[in-house]
Chain length 285, copies 4
Amino acid sequence: MAHVLNPRADEILDKEFKVLNHGFIRLVDYMGGDESIVQAARVSYGKGTKTVSEDRTLIRYLMRHQHTTPFEMVEFKFHVKLPIFVARQWIRHRTANVNEYSGRYSIMPEEFYVPDESVIKFQNRSNKQGRDSEEVPPEVRKRVLEILLEEQKSAFTGYQEMLENNIARELARINLPLSLYTQWYWKIDLHNLFHFLKLRMDKHAQYEIRVYAEKMAEIVKTVVPIAYEAFEDYVLNAVTFSKQELIVLQKYLPDNIDENEIENIGFSKYEKAEFFDKLKKISHL
Amino acid sequence: MAHVLNPRADEILDKEFKVLNHGFIRLVDYMGGDESIVQAARVSYGKGTKTVSEDRTLIRYLMRHQHTTPFEMVEFKFHVKLPIFVARQWIRHRTANVNEYSGRYSIMPEEFYVPDESVIKFQNRSNKQGRDSEEVPPEVRKRVLEILLEEQKSAFTGYQEMLENNIARELARINLPLSLYTQWYWKIDLHNLFHFLKLRMDKHAQYEIRVYAEKMAEIVKTVVPIAYEAFEDYVLNAVTFSKQELIVLQKYLPDNIDENEIENIGFSKYEKAEFFDKLKKISHL
Amino acid sequence: MAHVLNPRADEILDKEFKVLNHGFIRLVDYMGGDESIVQAARVSYGKGTKTVSEDRTLIRYLMRHQHTTPFEMVEFKFHVKLPIFVARQWIRHRTANVNEYSGRYSIMPEEFYVPDESVIKFQNRSNKQGRDSEEVPPEVRKRVLEILLEEQKSAFTGYQEMLENNIARELARINLPLSLYTQWYWKIDLHNLFHFLKLRMDKHAQYEIRVYAEKMAEIVKTVVPIAYEAFEDYVLNAVTFSKQELIVLQKYLPDNIDENEIENIGFSKYEKAEFFDKLKKISHL
Amino acid sequence: MAHVLNPRADEILDKEFKVLNHGFIRLVDYMGGDESIVQAARVSYGKGTKTVSEDRTLIRYLMRHQHTTPFEMVEFKFHVKLPIFVARQWIRHRTANVNEYSGRYSIMPEEFYVPDESVIKFQNRSNKQGRDSEEVPPEVRKRVLEILLEEQKSAFTGYQEMLENNIARELARINLPLSLYTQWYWKIDLHNLFHFLKLRMDKHAQYEIRVYAEKMAEIVKTVVPIAYEAFEDYVLNAVTFSKQELIVLQKYLPDNIDENEIENIGFSKYEKAEFFDKLKKISHL
C-alpha cells in the first residue's frame, strides 16, 4: 500500500478557486480519503467483524451515530486569501493549524474587499446580526461603495507615507481596515472541517465567509465524496427538533406509520429500526 | 462583584457521591454559573442590546442555536474514583485537564470493580458493542463473579509478591486487571462537559460509565440549573431526523399545523417562527 | 473544604487595570491557587508519598521538570479591552475560551488605539519584525500621529454614515481600522497562561501586546505567588543552550566546580544533583 | 505542484517496525515534509523577504525561536500495536487523533507484553517513579516472569470461559491485564510529535514507551531529516539552566569569550549574536 491518492482530487490540487473580488482557496495538500475513514473505523472492530459490510454503509453509519474520530483521520491543507474581518471569524475554529502572512514582517499589498453591489443590504430587523433581503436603492449602494473605496484608498496612502518614513511596519499597519486582504495556510482534519462547514454554510453566517465555506465544500466533496454525501444527509439537511417541538409533532403524526412503505423508500432494515426508535422516543415524551 | 457563588452548589462541594462498588465522584471546585453564561454572551451583544430579555430565554437561545462559547465560561473540577476500563473510555474526551494516580510512583490499593449480579448480561446480538436485556441464569452469573473475584485476588497476590521482592512499581503493576480502581482530578468546561454527558448518558454507552455520567448530570444540574434544563430540552431529549427520514415525516405531517394551538402550548413568537422554519425546510426537501 | 479562595486575589477581582490609551484587563473570576496545583500533583503520588515535602518545593519541582498538568488545574477568567491588531495576535493562543464583542450585532464605539509618542519607532534593521530603539525625530512622530488620528476619524465618520443609512452592521464595519478597540472575556488555565506570558512578555513580542502580558503577569502573581516565582526562575529567567552552544560553554567551564560552594548558595541536595547532571551531559557532547 | 512526496519516506511506508515482544509501529501515511515547514513559514514573510536564505537555515531558526506553527503543517499517521499500560501513558498527549481496537466490539487476541529478562529491575531508590540500574538476581527475574506468564494465562482463560458463556464482551474483558496488547491508528502533527518524542525519549520515561518513541524518532528522521536534526540540536540535546544555575555558571565563565574562535566553530553571524545575547543575559542576573 502507499498514500491514499485520489486522481479527481489531485486534479484540483493547487488550483485557485476564486472567492469574492480578490480572494481564493487552493487545496495545497491532503492526506487520506473515504477509505481512510473506513480503515480507521475497522481497527475498532478488529478481526471479529469483517462482515460489517461495504464502505459507504459504514461511513454513513459513523456519521449518523456521531462516531467522529474516524473522520479525524483525513487531513486537508488549504491556502486561502481572505479579508481580515472574515479571517477573524474563521480563526475562532481552534482545532486547526494556521500560518498567516504577517504585517509585522512584510508590507501588506493594496488589496481590499469591496462588496458586489448586489450584496449591499440593510440591517435585518428580526435577526440582529444579519442583512435584510430587501433591495437597497441604487443611490444608497453607490454611496456605500464610494465611502468604502475612498476610505480604503486614504488608509493605504497613510500606510505608505508611514512606510516611506521608515516607521516600523508593525506600527504603520495599525490603521489598515478590516477589509484588507490577508492570506494563510490552514490545515484541519475532516471532522473539524465538517463542523466549520456546518456553521459557516449556515444561512446565519455572514455572506462573505459563507462563500468561502461553499467553495470549500466543493473541494471536500471531490476528496471524500462518500463522507460528504453522508454529511449532507445526516447533518446539513437534517433537522433537530427540541423536546417541546417533538410534543407538537407527536400530535400530528399518525400512530401507524407503515413499515413496508418505508422499506420501499430504500431504508435498510437497520435504518428502519432506527427511525422507529425515534418515533417511539417521541411517543414517550 | 465577586466570584459567582451558588449556595446550593456549595452544599455539595466535596461530597462523595458513590458510584459502582468502590467508585465516587466529588465536585472539588467550580467557577461560574448560569449567570456567567449570560455575562459572556452579553459581551458579544455589547451595549446596544440590553433588552435581549432575561437570562433563561438567552441561555435557551444559545443552546438551541449551538452558540457554544458562552457555555465554555463555566468550569468544573471533579475528583473521581473509577475502574481503569472506564477511565480508558473517559480519557478519550480530550478537551479536559487530568491528573491521575500513578502506578509508577505509588502502590495501587486492592480495590476492584465487581459488577452487581443484576448487570451481568449476555452479549447483545443486534448491537455488537452492547449487552442484552435478557436475564442471565443465576448459575452463570455466579460463575462470572467467581471468575472475576478469583482472578482479581490472584493478580493482586502476584503484584504484592513482586513488590515484596522490590521489583520496580512501574513493572510490577503491568498485570493488574482493567477492573482495578484508579482515581483522578478532572477539570472541564461546561460546553465540553455537556458533550461528555450527551455521549456517556446515551443508552449505547457502557453501563459502567453511564452511571458516572448520570451522577455527574445531577451535580451539573445543581450548579447550572437553567443551562442543564436547556441541555435536556434541546440536546438530550431532542431528536435529529436525517434528510431521508424527513422525507418520510413530510408524507405524514398535515399541511396546516395550527399556529395558534402552538402558541397556546407556550412557544414564544420566536420559537414558533423557528419551528415553522423547520417545517418549511422539510417541505422543500 | 470549600472553594480555594485567596484574599489578596479577591481584592483585585473586577478591578480595571489600565493598559494603553483606552484598554484594560480585569480579573473576572479564578478557580484554584497554589494549593490546587499541589492537590492535583499529590493525587499522582497517592497515599505512599505524603512526605514529598512542602508545597513550594513541590511546585518548583513540577515547573522545573515540565510536569505541566497540575498547573492546568488553576483557571483564570479575564475581561480585556484591546485594539483589534492586538486581539489578532492574542487569539492565536488556541487553548483558551473566548467571547468577543460582535460588530455584527452591535455598534462599535469610537475608541481607537493611538500610540504614545514615545513608542513610535523606526523599522528595526536586523530584526525584520520589530522596532528600532533609535529616537524618531519629533516632526516625524507628530506626522504619524496626525495620519493615525485623521484616518481614524474619517473611517468612523464613514461607518456612522453607513449606519445612518441603515446599512447592515456586519457590512458597515468592514472598513474600521485594526486600531479600533474591541473587548472580550478570555478564560484560560494556568499552564497555557504561562505559555502565553512567556511568548508575549518576550522582548520580540510587539510592544502593544507586551504591556497586556506584563499587566496580566502581575495579576497572576497575586493569585498564584509560588507558581509565578517558579515560572520566573525556571522559564522566564532561564536560558536554553543548544548543543552547539554547549560545546562552546564546555570549553570555558572548569572541570572541577565546587559542590560545597553550590550547596552554600542554597541549592537543595536534589537541585545540586540535577545541576551536576546537566554539566555531565554537556561534558559528553 | 503536487503532494510533497519523499522517496526515502515512501520506502518505509507500511513497513512494520518491531517494538517489544509483540508490538510494532507502522507509518501509514504522512502529509508534507521539510519543504512544507518552509512553505508555511514563508507565507508569514510574504513577498518582501525572499532572501531569508535557504531551507535548513530557516527551519533551524524556527526551531530555535520556538516558532512552532510551521511544524504543525506536517502530519503523520501511524498504526501502533502496544500494551495497554503504554497506551494509557501515550493517550495523555491530547492533540492527536486516535482510533483504537475496541474490546466492546471485538474479541481481544491472546497477546501479552512479557519483559525481556534484561529489563526486569528493582525499584529505584532516589527516583520514585523509575527502575534501578542494579542487576536483579536471576532467580528473582525468573520468578517475576513466572508470575507474569501464569497470571496472563489464567486471566485469558477466565476471559475465554466468559465469552464461551456468551457474556457480553464489554464485561468479559474487564479482568484482562494492563499487559495485554491493543492497537490503534494515531495521527499527529510534527510539532506535537516532537513534544511527544521529547517527553517519551527522556530517560525518565518508562522503558516500555521509550522504545516506541525511539523507533518513531527514526521514522520521523526519514520523513523530515532537516527538522529532525534541528530538533536534536535545539531541543533533545539542549540544556536549560534555571536562574539560580545561571548565577553559578556566571561565576565560572570567563568574561572574555573569544568571538573569533566561536565563528571558527561554524556559528553564523546571527547565531553568534544570539549566543552572546544569552551570555549577556546571564551576566545581568
